[in-house]
Symmetry: C2
Subunit: 111 residues, 2 copies
């Protein structure tokens, strides 16, 4: 992953409303939730929510699909994984287990 992309992904999550949106979608699973459902559940005005959904979608953190008059948003698990792997990449220069706290064991750098 490129650094700039990682920054974009992180920035898309580094905002209270957007983090709440993303976590709701993570918990909702692959089917996701409609914009209206999110607006109601999180008590965010439509225009504000739309702005944040656009940020997350543009970053690639979530996906959108149209279904009837609704637009369903869902978490992009692949992006989340790539981000987590990037953050822990080459931890301690590969000298495991120097970071015993790490629950995740992402693969070493591949590119």
């Amino acid at each position: 992953m490129e650094t700039k992309h990682a920054v974009t992904l992180l920035a898309s999550l580094a905002q209270e409303a957007r983090l709440a949106i993303f976590r709701s979608l993570v918990q909702a699973g692959p089917d996701g939730l409609s914009a209206g459902t999110l607006s109601q559940a999180l008590q965010i005005p439509n225009s504000t929510l739309s702005f944040h959904l656009k940020e997350l979608n543009h970053a690639g953190m979530i996906s959108a699909r149209q279904e009837s008059r609704f637009i369903y948003y869902s978490a992009n698990y692949a992006s989340m994984n790539a981000l987590l792997a990037y953050l822990t990449e080459n931890c301690c220069a590969g000298q495991a287990p120097c970071c015993p706290d790490l629950q995740c064991q992402p693969t070493q750098t591949k590119e």
Copy 2:
């Protein structure tokens, strides 16, 4: 973890220079690197670097320790783990394996 703290942690990483700093520290391991070493390695002016180190430190993403005239900064692995766990918490409402892509298997919500 509280939402606001998670946002602070994410925001501390959502900046190109800071992400580079953090990843350098992750790779350096528990001993960390001095401010001067980072400044030189990443080609960041001292004042700018100091600003970013403060941000990371204040967020709790890194730690600082004085040693002689140098200040060594190191990645806070516990914070990173907590953040990763928070992001994937209660994924798909616990209906594994609905998100087969997830490499990480963080514990379910505990609080």
